[in-house]
Symmetry: C2
Subunit: 486 residues, 2 copies
């Protein structure tokens, strides 16, 4: 089985590298021709993954009772991939991957030019492929969205999510209204002063390293939409995005992506190049990024030792800003339009909106033309703000251009998992004390020990139960937000 | 045959991207694990390239008489690759590629630390593989070095090269001695003042664009050793390397690599993603880079319109330097130790030395331990200078770490081809006049029309004959150097 695994892993890695390259470096005119290369590699990956010899080996292995936990997980994951892929006609899969390879630059241009009409035909095709593939894949009367969820959150179904988002809607929408009144009094205008981008880049590099990013095993570049990717645990790459008039944006993108990176860097050497070398689920992955971004990165204790350095990097812009002013400003919770810039309190409502829109799309209950309006209506209903352009509405996220339908809920689950871990960790260690002393590595060590190193050999809820002694429980998340914002 | 061609092309492109990434971006600790990925992709490429169905299709196609010139060239090239690869045991090939994927970072470190002993074991293995593979590949009593040459210069044999280098040795060694006396009087100390690297990067970007590099279809980054690579004609990548105290270095690296890039950008759309989408030969490729670097880039006419801009970028450093001072300095011809920094007159002698060393290595007439001494002796004999460290001697070039034995002669052939093209083009256009008016694009257009667009569908000597009306003739090169340096 190993030779198969290796070939699959290598083709996967090549696709990862092409995607990274496309988002960071590739010249503007390259994508059309490069799409053909990516299409061919994807087709080769599909052929390898659904190879009949491999299929036999896998079903044999599945029946064996003497497999180590590692190999059991590998066989399970490869079987899952195999079964999911073999139902898709190779030619359709290839066209789909070629479409995706072109889509992100079309989306990028459309967003820049506020031109939903330019992206709509591509989006329509991606939605059609996604629905069709989910139909191929579904078992019996399974909900199409549940089929998508399995790719990202094997431990969660729509029913779980409906409950989860139901709780959030009930608890957070009123909390957001109350917090808004207080928050509006906070002056965060200094965050919008002019911050030299080169200087920001320097500080963000320092910040990533401070949080624990290892430049011997990682790279930071810029991209339109910050993301993390990796070839293995010794090559982990993150991007951030600098805005001259939004100091906060790059700071928290950097910390967020560093959280993802620490997860990947923390996977055991023994697992990293195998099919179970990634995170337990996307929600578990997002729990780590959101944990570092918010629980750690928006706390006073975190900034105490390093705020002076930030103030030094921008002596003019921050001369009249105390640490307390800064902490208040980065925790200001006022509903806004852009998910990636959203405060911690409203963030999951952005996700709720996307979850509802995606459900409608997958159920075929909505036409692509109506999408911008539906999007805007939901923002108005839940957050009391309404986008006036598509760039700040329906076009803001890269996910759909990448075919990642069903991914968004992982962000909200990640927030909830992060809060659950945090409540537990506070009992195990002097959390704020460690932050105040700059000892983030001890917090990371705990997470590595309990979560990172296992890769995908344990599921997200399994890890939660083993770490916190309790199944997934979103009440902690609500409690965390109430504690912070009330 | 197309599906085979596409799969092979895509795997090749993935390997190109991994190599580019490794030289420019990848984190220091990545290479060991990434080598496994590259090894697997190479093994897949080998399997695809030697596939038995493809073999049949190719020998069928070879017998057909109705193929277009394009397809005839494709079949010929794929057959060549097939025959060359099928003789190598797959496991050996894979280990070799994995070795190469690790070797460049080992070389880089060894060079930095002046530690030949650290590189020697790797070099030994690469030499062994190279000899063994050449033995597998050779037909009858063919010279091993001739087998290597076929990869880079199918139109040239050792016999041709012996004649060629014989001429150079006879004509250039005495010319170098004579020119040295004059050159030593030239003051080029201002080139070694302190030039801010960021400012250099800005100017070099401008310079590349001025020469014709199209940033919509290309990328420039930095790497230890400047090089050009490409995925297709709309994604061409070059690197350069900045030294604070060597203004000249990045300037001429940038122009050199831009010359390579213009070749790749100029290949017909119809050919670019096929097996004959590259340059006719490495010598023809180097002829283009050396043409832009030297014939164009070291001429007074080229700098006339843009020297003021360089002087503006470095007002302090160049305030007392006239255009004439600058031109003299960049054409100073004094024997030195580093090939990539060598002047135009001595350059091919650096190549001659490498050719002789490689011949010895391939004939097994030399032990790896002796190599630094042999290298130093040859420098002393031909150029009158002797390296005192291995970093400035045997370790200076990346080529052997990349397995490129037999490549070096292409640089010297490139110089000769460039001169031959130049003598011809002077008759066809007002060469200096165009340069003085900044109309480089007209020169590039001529080369595109006669050389670039054909990719590998014509051989290097065929292109030379069709363009200049004459077979390869190194006398032009000697005449060019005499005209310039006497």
């Amino acid at each position: 089985m190993k030779p198969h695994m290796e070939r699959i892993g290598a083709l996967n890695a090549a696709l990862v590298l092409f995607e990274w390259d496309d988002s960071t470096l590739a010249p503007p005119m390259a994508s059309e021709q490069t799409a053909g290369i990516v299409g061919s590699l994807s087709a080769q990956l599909l052929a390898e993954s659904t190879d009949s010899e491999l299929k036999e080996l896998l079903s044999e292995a599945e029946r064996r009772s003497d497999l180590s936990p590692k190999w059991k997980a590998i066989v399970k994951e490869m079987n899952r991939q195999q079964r999911s892929l073999e139902k898709i006609p190779p030619e359709e899969y290839r066209s789909y991957r070629e479409l995706l390879a072109r889509a992100s630059s079309i989306w990028q241009k459309a967003k820049k030019e506020n031109d939903y009409a330019a992206f709509e035909p591509v989006l329509r095709q991606i939605v059609e492929y996604t629905r069709r593939f989910a139909q191929y894949r579904r078992e019996r009367e399974e909900n199409l969205y549940d089929v998508l969820l399995k790719e990202y959150e094997p431990d969660f179904t729509c029913k779980d999510l409906d409950n989860f988002f139901g709780l959030l809607k009930k608890e957070l929408v009123p909390l957001i209204r109350r917090a808004k009144k207080e928050s509006e009094k906070i002056d965060d205008s200094f965050l919008h002063r002019s911050y030299d981008v080169e200087e920001q880049a320097k500080f963000n590099r320092y910040l990533a390293e401070y949080v624990g990013f290892d430049f011997d095993r990682g790279v930071i570049l810029e991209s339109e939409h910050p993301f993390t990717t990796n070839l293995h645990n010794k090559d982990v790459r993150i991007t951030t995005h600098y805005y001259e008039n939004l100091l906060e944006s790059a700071l928290f993108s950097t910390i967020h992506e560093t959280g993802h990176a620490l997860y990947e860097m923390g996977v055991d050497d023994d697992l990293t190049l195998t099919p179970v070398g990634g995170g337990a689920s996307m929600g578990m992955h997002e729990s780590q990024s959101r944990f570092y971004e918010n629980v750690v990165g928006r706390s006073r204790a975190f900034w105490e030792p390093i705020y002076p350095r930030l103030a030094e990097a921008f002596p003019e812009q921050l001369k009249d800003v105390s640490l307390d002013d800064f902490i208040k400003a980065i925790n200001k919770a006022v509903p806004s339009l852009i998910r990636t810039e959203a405060d911690e309190l409203t963030y999951s409502i952005h996700i709720l909106i996307r979850y509802e829109v995606e459900r409608l799309l997958m159920e075929g209950q909505v036409s692509l033309e109506e999408l911008p309006r539906i999007w805007a209506d939901k923002y108005e209903e839940y957050l009391g703000v309404r986008p006036t352009t598509d760039s700040e509405g329906i076009l803001q996220d890269i996910h759909w251009a990448g075919g990642s339908f069903g991914y968004f809920p992982s962000y909200a689950l990640g927030n909830a998992i992060a809060a659950q871990l945090y409540f537990h960790m506070r009992k195990e260690m002097d959390f704020d004390g460690l932050l105040r002393e700059g000892k983030i590595s001890q917090i990371t060590e705990y997470l590595r020990e309990h979560i990172h190193r296992f890769g995908m050999t344990k599921s997200s809820r399994e890890l939660l139960r083993e770490t916190t002694g309790e199944d997934f429980n979103p009440e902690y998340y609500v409690a965390y937000l109430k504690e912070k914002f009330e």
